[in-house]
Amino acid sequence: MDTGIHIAPAEPLGLKVNPVIRIRDVWKRFGSNEVLKGFNLDLHPGESVVVLGKSGSGKSVLIKCIIGLMQPDAGEIKVFGADIPALNHEDLDQIRARVGFLFQSNALYDSMTVRENLEFPLRRHWIKIGQQEVNAMVMEALDNVGLAHTVDMMPAELSGGMRKRIALARTLILKPEIILYDEPTTGLDPVTGKEISDLMVEIQEKYKTSSLIISHDMKCVERTADLIAVLVDGRCHVLASYEELRNATDPLVKQFFE
């Protein structure tokens, strides 16, 4: 069937050099349930790619394999050229310091204040920085998300949108070169969802980060994506721009736009 768009090849053409994330033929199964069946994708510097797929299609599994929270059963995942499944803990931490991860549930530490939440990755990755410098970095990250006044509040005192922004600030504090977003607008009202999407674009422009976004919120996808990888049956079914996909005739693609 001609979809009018290109199907992601097993070995994508090397039109751009040195992807920051390179995923080749990744397989992952849980018991008898095979969620990834030879997934391929490249993320290039400064690019924003959305992985679009139904719930339970393996999007979150993919993003967790990229950051080393899960091991793929087979295939190659390279971040900044480093083979993630083969790295030891120390080397993996070096890579993780350059990659931000925004969790679907925000994953703010309930027992810590906003300041302590933001200080945590700083202290763990860069042990030898002074308190003054830490304070300045915390305030800069909070200013970026417009929530400097919440610095001494507990996560439980914040609204859903504020918690998402704080989680984003914590992701930003190490000034990552890549940010992985796991369903960044899920559970938010449309207005807050739009604000978060705009913030993601703003951050990408300001810090020139590369973004890999897991989402099925089409408003968020439209605002943030340079390219969209449609994940169907464990594979990258299609890789194309939002406009190209919107006009596609392929029913597997069309269902996301209806």
């Binding site: 967790k64 931490d93 991860f101 549930s105 925000n106 530490y109 309930d110 945590f120 990755p121």
Partner: protein, 259 residues
């Protein structure tokens, strides 16, 4: 012959194996740098501070009630003067450590199970790992070491408060001064009663911390799993406290510490 293992037995064996592996990982991680000293001290403070008032109050009541109940039968046999020593021996050897450990399992063990379970389902443990932290070391090792240290300290305090309760119990119907009461206890109570009972509380604390961490760390099925983690922590660690107590009494008996 087709031999099938009942599902319950199979689950028990699997769970025991997983816990044994978890314990092995604890020892492997505990002695390998980086050491989370600051978090360990924070956990010691929180664990000790959280259980102090409850343990103190129950220990006081325990000493008081035990004394009031033991007085009539001892009077009957003309052994009233032995009351301080008998209460102290019972409290220090057995009742103090076991009751304090059970309260500890209910308050601290369930709290650890629920806290770690909640951190697991809200991806906080994953977030910690992404932030360059070994979550097992930061969450599990620090908590288990804190419970192993703090329970013996709490037991010492609980035993002291219990004896204070006993002293008040003696004075409800009699008239004994403090120096006579405590002097009598320390004159007859051997160190062989105190040391083994303190050593076993280290194992009680270790069991409570380890079970709480295990149940929380591997909690599944969302908020339902968090509740289950807290509940099963109390059940399993309470059972382990009695099991350790049974083993400890056999060992102390073999080594001649029971007299």
């Amino acid at each position: 012959m087709n031999l099938t293992i009942p599902v319950g037995v199979q689950y028990f064996l699997e769970e025991t194996g997983r816990m044994a592996r978890f314990t092995g990982r604890f020892f492997a991680e505990a002695f390998r740098p980086r050491y989370e000293v600051q978090e360990w001290l924070r956990q010691c403070f929180l664990i000790g501070n959280k259980s102090l008032s409850l343990v103190g109050l129950t220990a006081f009541i325990l000493g008081l009630v035990l004394t009031i109940q033991l007085r009539p039968p001892l009077l009957e046999y003309g052994m009233e003067s032995e009351l301080p020593y008998i209460v102290a021996d019972a409290v220090i050897r057995e009742i103090g450590p076991v009751v304090t450990a059970l309260i500890f399992a209910g308050k601290i063990g369930s709290g650890i199970g629920a806290e770690l379970g909640s951190m697991k389902v809200t991806e906080q443990i994953d977030a910690m790992e992404v932030s360059g932290t070994n979550p097992f070391k930061y969450l599990v090792v620090t908590r288990v070491m804190a419970t192993s240290l703090m329970l013996p300290i709490l037991v010492i305090m609980a035993s002291a408060i219990s004896l204070l309760g006993s002293f008040m119990g003696v004075n409800i119907k009699g008239n004994t001064n403090a120096s006579l009461f405590f002097g009598h206890i320390f004159q007859f109570l051997p160190m062989s009663a105190i040391i083994p009972s303190l050593i076993k509380t280290i194992f009680f604390g270790f069991a409570v911390g380890l079970v709480g961490c295990y149940k929380g760390y591997y909690s599944t099925k969302g908020t339902e799993g968090v509740g289950r983690a807290a509940n099963s922590t109390v059940v399993i660690s309470s059972f382990l406290i009695f099991l350790i107590d049974l083993v400890a009494v056999q060992i102390t008996d073999l080594l001649g510490f029971t007299s």
